[in-house]
Structures are given as structure tokens and as C-alpha cells.
């Protein structure tokens, strides 16, 4: 098929996905290059662009739009996680959905509850490139990238030896409070590498100082300082417990 005329139906979306559909129509992304045109009535449409998790109210309108389309090719494209599987609204009281056991996968919901869907574009919302990619996939311009995977028990790696693993767990909780997970965890990974690469306490101190001086971002500098002070605190506590236990049991040093 050369050109795809689409009709856009919102079945209860939060509007995030609808905005992204507008985005792909602007000259910067320009989905019309691929022959896609937004038409104002389903009678002219080859494809139905469905967003939203399919509320009970929207169900009838969406069904009417689908039936009004010409019988061929009648393509249905689910845009957004909501339309693919229900998304964040998957267990809302307002949705039209079948009752099912909760442990079935792939998870059901959204548009596939009532229509045969030809293309799923997940994302909440999908970025304009994702929608472009989906349409290109439909027109065989690009290759499919995702694949279902099943990993059975294979190799297992514990990233750190016991003391450092314990320290990491304690530092993780604290750095998350300071910097959040995104910067915090990557900073913690950097810090743990420093800890593992240094042999002695003095070397670690020098390494940390050097890293702090080289770091341009003041938030990360602050985070590194905090991490180092927490690290020293944890090591002190550990040595304190060990000394107390030795004194209690009467073990030699």
C-alpha cells in the first residue's frame, strides 16, 4: 500500500498520545512524507488510529467508526500503551473489558478488547519517532526490532563481594534520598568502582578528591561528598561492631 489515510479515534486517552499524533504531523517530523494523511471521516480512511484504554462510553463510538470504514483494508493501529493493553488505566472501573485471570500474558486490555489490531505502538506517550517507526514498519520500510525473549536459569553474577555489596545496599537508600534514582544510582556505580579499584583508605581518599575536583556538575560533586562521608560512617560502624564483638567473645585481634 502506498498511502495510508488515517482516522483518529480517542477512546478515553489522557490526551498525551493525541498530542504526539499532532506532533508527527508537523513539518519537523512530517509523517505525510510516508503518505499518511489525517482524514475527517472514517468513510475515507484505510486505518483507524486508536488511542486510549477504551472506556465504556467510547466503545460504541469507536465501534461505529470501525464499521463505517471501507471493508478493505480496515487496518487498526493502537497508539500508546493504553490502546495496546490498557496501560495505567488497565483496572479502571470505567473501562470496557473482559474479566480474566490476572496472571496471563501478554497482558490484555485496550483496543484489542474489541478490534483485531494490526500494529501496536507502545509508549506513554510514544515519542513522535516511535509513531513514525510504527508506520514505517507497516509499510515495510524498517525491520522489526523487538522480540519476545525467554531466559532460563543461566549464569548468575553477584556484582560485588560481601562487604562492598553490603555497603552498596546501605549507600543506595541514602543517595536515593539525596539525588533521586537516576543520578543517584549512576553516581553510586561510579563511586563503588572507585572503592573497588583502590587498595587502601588513603588511596580511596585521593581518588575521591580527584573525582570531586574533576566533576563539573555541582549536584554530583555534592553527591560524591555525601557518598564518601556515608561510606566512612558505614566503615566506622562496621569496625566498631567488630571490635565490640571481639571484646565480648574474647577473640584475639
Amino acid at each position: 500500500m502506498k498511502s495510508l489515510w488515517v482516522f483518529h479515534v480517542n477512546t478515553g486517552a489522557c490526551n498525551g498520545c493525541d498530542i504526539e499524533i499532532l506532533d508527527v504531523l508537523i513539518p519537523y517530523y512530517d509523517i505525510e512524507r510516508l503518505g499518511v494523511k489525517l482524514v475527517p471521516t472514517p468513510r475515507h480512511a484505510h486505518a483507524l488510529l486508536v488511542t486510549g484504554p477504551l472506556t465504556r462510553q467510547a466503545y460504541h463510538a469507536a465501534k461505529m467508526a470501525y464499521e463505517a470504514m471501507p471493508p478493505k483494508p480496515r487496518i487498526v493501529i493502537a497508539v500508546g500503551t493504553c490502546a495496546c493493553s490498557g496501560g495505567i488505566f488497565h483496572d479502571s472501573y470505567a473501562l470496557r473489558r473482559e474479566y480474566r485471570e490476572s496472571l496471563e500474558y501478554p497482558l490484555k486490555g485496550g483496543t484489542s478488547e474489541f478490534l483485531p489490531v494490526h500494529l501496536y505502538i507502545p509508549g506513554c506517550p510514544p515519542r513522535p519517532e516511535e509513531i513514525l517507526y510504527g508506520i514505517a514498519l507497516l509499510k515495510n520500510i524498517v525491520e522489526k526490532k523487538v522480540r519476545g525473549e525467554l531466559f532460563r536459569e543461566g549464569t548468575f553474577v553477584l556484582p560485588r563481594e560481601s562487604f562492598n555489596a553490603w555497603v552498596e545496599v546501605l549507600l543506595r537508600a541514602r543517595i536515593r534520598k539525596e539525588l533521586g534514582y537516576f543520578d543517584g544510582y549512576s553516581l553510586l556505580r561510579r563511586f563503588m568502582e572507585l572503592v573497588e579499584s583502590s587498595e587502601s583508605k588513603e588511596e580511596l581518599e585521593k581518588l575521591v578528591e580527584k573525582t570531586i575536583n574533576d566533576e563539573g556538575d555541582s549536584r554530583l560533586r555534592y553527591g560524591l561528598e555525601k557518598l564518601y562521608s556515608y561510606y566512612l560512617e558505614v566503615v566506622r560502624t562496621y569496625e566498631g561492631i567488630l571490635a565490640a564483638k571481639r571484646a565480648l567473645v574474647g577473640l584475639p585481634k
Partner: protein, 162 residues
């Protein structure tokens, strides 16, 4: 200027929240991610008969909030910068990690945690503080055997072996 995108490859910015992926080398099957995931995109499915646990990640239900990345204790599940997840078959969105459950030392039945979880917990005990071998001896017990042991320990003085 119009982007050349579908005809030219494109990378998302580094902080972009793309689809999540579980690293099967690091995952211990604790199910923290399944617990935290707001739209239930990650399922934890236990099969006590065959002794397996499946962590099932469905990218087509994921809203990319990164709660899983935040709670994962091993850093196994991470949001990648991949965004090209469109497909015509929903089965393509499913990633499964299957792990073995640990066997109970007392009765031999499968417990409700995996072998990797046991290893991970043991690896977290810093040497010298706890009696390492005694912990290792007691660890793989199912909840029933643990209950019995607790009752036995409570009714007798001194410790009782399982």
C-alpha cells in the same frame, strides 16, 4: 528542516526513558519490580510444582515510569534508550526470566524464594558480624518449617535443629 528519521537511524537522548529490559545475569527474582510497577506490567508467577519462578515483563503495558529501576536491588532491570518497540504481535513485547526456586532443607518442598535470592542474601552478610555458617545452614526453609522451628525454639530452652 524535516527529520530524515525512518530512513536514517536515530538515537534517543541518554536520559530518555525507553523500554525497560531485565538483565537475566543479574536478576534474582525477588519480585520487587512486580510489586512496585503501577500498571502491573511486570508479573511474578510462581510454579511451586515444578519449582520455577517467572518474572514476566510486558513492554506493551509499561508506562516507562522507572519505578522498577528505582526499587530493583541488583540493578537488573533498567530503562534502555530503545524506543522502537512497535510490532504486530503482542508476544514480541514479553520478556520472561525463569529462575529456580530453592528447596526447603526441612521438608524438601519448594520454598517461596529463589536460589539466587538465597545467594544474594548470603552475599550481603558482612563477615565477622554474624556466625556465617549457622545462617547458611538455616536459610533455605519453607514458611511451614520456619514456623515449626520458631515454635520449637519458643517452647524449649536452647536452639533446636530443624
Amino acid at each position: 528542516m524535516t527529520k530524515a528519521y525512518p530512513f536514517e537511524p536515530e538515537e534517543a537522548p541518554p536520559e530518555y526513558r525507553g523500554i525497560p529490559r531485565i538483565d537475566p545475569v543479574l536478576c534474582i527474582g525477588c519480585g520487587a519490580c512486580a510489586n512496585a510497577c503501577p500498571p502491573n506490567a511486570i508479573l511474578r508467577i510462581d510454579d511451586p510444582e515444578n519449582g520455577t519462578r517467572r518474572i514476566v515483563l510486558d513492554v506493551g503495558r509499561c508506562i516507562r515510569c522507572a519505578r522498577c529501576e528505582e526499587v530493583c536491588p541488583t540493578g537488573a532491570v533498567r530503562l534502555t534508550a530503545e524506543f522502537e518497540a512497535a510490532t504486530d504481535d503482542r508476544n514480541d513485547h514479553v520478556e520472561i526470566v525463569e529462575l529456580r526456586l530453592a528447596r526447603c532443607r526441612g521438608c524438601g518442598k519448594y520454598t517461596c524464594y529463589t536460589e539466587r535470592q538465597v545467594e544474594k542474601v548470603l552475599s550481603l552478610i558482612p563477615r565477622g558480624i554474624l556466625d556465617f555458617d549457622r545462617v547458611r545452614e538455616k536459610l533455605p526453609l519453607c514458611s511451614e518449617c520456619k514456623l515449626k522451628l520458631t515454635v520449637l525454639n519458643a517452647t524449649k530452652f536452647g536452639e533446636v535443629e530443624p
